[in-house]
Symmetry: C2
Subunit: 406 residues, 2 copies
């Protein structure tokens, strides 16, 4: 039920278009995956997410494992039915959240002992359990349980985490295969599990030889797709892209390449040129809730006085519900008045911006003009440090640590 094929290749970069087929539908790639950490893309209903053009969403295993609990989701018919989303779902393994969010008690070879950030309760997660949870949730794409080393750690620590990630990857695969074989088709969830795909994650920190080593090792295992983990954690952008290049060059071209937790519009344009097929990031919806709306020229803060009486759509070229329905002045008013509807309208705009950007990227690759598209986009698009500072000030860092996700 799961397959991937590339459809067109850029002749001068690694950019390519393709299609991921799952039992819940097709994901045209390159694709941006909106984040719905707690089984909800914040503020939106499933019909709105589909109307954005999203073909897949991501949910966080860590969050759902703790609340409402895997058994609850399973008994309610799986994640798709629980959240009312009919299209594909990717779940992360919980590794990243455990290492960045929970109070970490102990990493053992067997697994990780941690405390819930919600109620302090103690949990022990193993590669086998992480895979089982995601199978029970009913995700289409499930991720191997990994140990992402924090940015700035010593090389031997990163090496240790990377090697453990490799051993855990093998255990995830074994567990996945066993469970797959054991599945009978007598429940809807089991039938869905037949179509599940397991992706491996390459680590390696910011060390080129570790990245290459990890990519080669993970690529040698029988995963349906490959992710690059442990990036966008504070390292300079050029280091991130160097690591991506070291990894992608060792991955099989016929499999999906997934850059986890990335990123901003300019990151997606850069990542596609380096052979990335799918991206996920909570950034577009998070900054939306802080009032930072995307345009092709960069982010704009909707609270700025310049928007107070602007009787035009925020972006006249945007086809999102927000821009088609309301004046910029109205959205400005909602943010100034701290109205919840503002968060929703801004989320719709930013997510549509990302998904439309991917549509344009696919189109450019298909017509053989990706290098030109990329140059024109990056020439116009100005990442604003000012915005970054503003977002940090408003508690972005706390959110980034993943409390309540997305």
């Amino acid at each position: 039920m799961f397959s991937f094929k590339t459809l067109s290749l850029c002749s001068t970069t690694r950019a390519r278009t393709g299609e991921i087929l799952t039992s819940h539908g097709t994901v045209p790639t390159p694709a941006f995956i909106p984040v719905g950490s707690q089984a909800t893309v914040k503020t939106l209903v499933p019909q709105e997410i589909a109307a954005l053009g999203a073909s897949i969403v991501l949910c966080n295993t860590y969050h759902l494992y703790l609340r409402p609990g895997v058994d609850v989701v399973r008994r309610l018919g799986g994640l798709n039915r629980f959240m009312g989303w009919e299209k594909p779902i990717l779940t992360d393994s919980g590794g990243y959240q455990i290492f960045s969010l929970a109070s970490l008690r102990q990493v053992k070879e067997e697994g990780v002992l941690f405390r819930s950030h919600i109620d302090g309760s103690e949990h022990f997660l193993t590669p086998e359990k992480a895979v089982g949870i995601q199978q029970d949730l009913g995700a289409d794409i499930i991720m191997a349980f990994d140990e992402p080393p924090a940015y700035g750690q010593k090389k031997e620590k990163v090496e240790e985490a990377t090697e453990r990630t490799h051993r855990w990857a093998k255990r995830c695969l074994n567990s996945f295969s066993n469970k797959e074989q054991a599945s009978s088709a007598d429940t809807p969830i089991n039938r869905e599990q037949a179509g599940q795909a397991l992706f491996g994650i390459a680590q390696g920190g910011v060390y080129p030889e570790l990245r290459q080593h990890s990519a080669r090792h993970i690529a040698s295992l029988d995963f349906s797709g490959f992710a690059i983990g442990g990036l966008c954690l504070g390292e300079p952008k050029e280091v991130m892209w160097e690591m991506v290049e070291h990894t992608v060059s060792s991955l099989p071209p016929e499999k999906v390449h997934y850059l986890m937790g990335v990123g901003s519009p300019e990151d997606l344009v850069e990542g596609v040129a380096r052979g990335i097929d799918i991206f996920d990031s909570a950034l577009p919806s998070r900054v939306a809730r802080n009032g930072a709306l995307f345009t092709r020229k960069g982010r704009r803060n909707i609270r700025n006085a310049e928007f107070k009486e602007k009787d035009e759509p925020f972006d006249p070229d945007c086809d999102c519900y927000t821009c088609r329905t309301f004046s910029t002045a109205y959205i400005h008013h909602l943010f100034k008045a701290e109205e919840l509807l503002g968060l929703r309208l801004a989320t719709i705009h930013n997510l549509r911006f990302m998904i439309k950007l991917m549509e344009d990227i696919r189109q450019a690759i298909q017509v053989g003009d990706y290098p030109g598209f990329k140059e024109r986009f990056l020439e116009r698009y100005q990442p604003t440090n000012e915005e970054a500072r503003l977002i940090q000030k408003r508690g972005w860092l706390k959110e980034r640590q993943g409390v309540n996700g997305g």
Copy 2:
């Protein structure tokens, strides 16, 4: 452009059905008016409000006057266009908010000097100005500027406020007529103003003779409809209904009767029996955001553990989007996880509950069974003190004072 006609009368109570015609459409009565204080029914877009069956919304003059400012709304084409709502709008006069929310500096015969709760800026509002603001906002139904005496004030204070309300009512009418005559049809807003209607407000506190006196006085003036103000402010329910009866019996039956700021489902059922045609209240959406969802048996707190795995709509008989789309367990999860989508789904349910209740009430009156409907409804519906306490604990009182409205 504005008219009201009664369509059917209950033979044993004062209940009646009718129709308010405005230039933005028809309001079947009895009607519940959702509150959109700051030009937004919190969390919802106009299409959703219409889908609830709402035929009219209320906006707060006080809030819009302070932010974004009347000139901004006027320049952007009026309130309907600003908020994307095509149906009728009723604006209050700002009186209630000024007396309950702003730091009140001084009540003079000329008007009220007050400080904004947002930035402390000083403002002077007069009856003439309050009418002019509402005309500029482009509301279909605009309210006279009144002085609602707080519950518990001495009789002479209430009498003073009531008499000033009477003098201000006359000034509102004069100002409204003058402006109406002066309006030319050269702007969209002016054309809309031609269809505006001005309603008077009767006061009188909790003193029967003052209520009767005020009702008779206001009824003698040439208003298009009549409101009962200064109730639901902490007085016992039986006192409120006694005051409503004293007022309605003195109002012309051929005009709209509006009970301001009321209320809960059981209040609407009781109010209709006493001849009330329209009600507004932020209560249904406010308690929704606190997790209290209406059923025909009373409110239920969606956070309760009993809902954790309930794989059925919250109310299987409800036709709202929330109940048609999601399990109770999912809404429970959203509230436990403090997800914004929960506030939205609960708001949809409670507002649809109120509007469906009014549809059922109109139907019962039309078929001549209102007393039976009322008895059956009140027998089943249990107002819960527990809920009320919960809501207070969660800061309801602060919200009730009207910060950010709705």
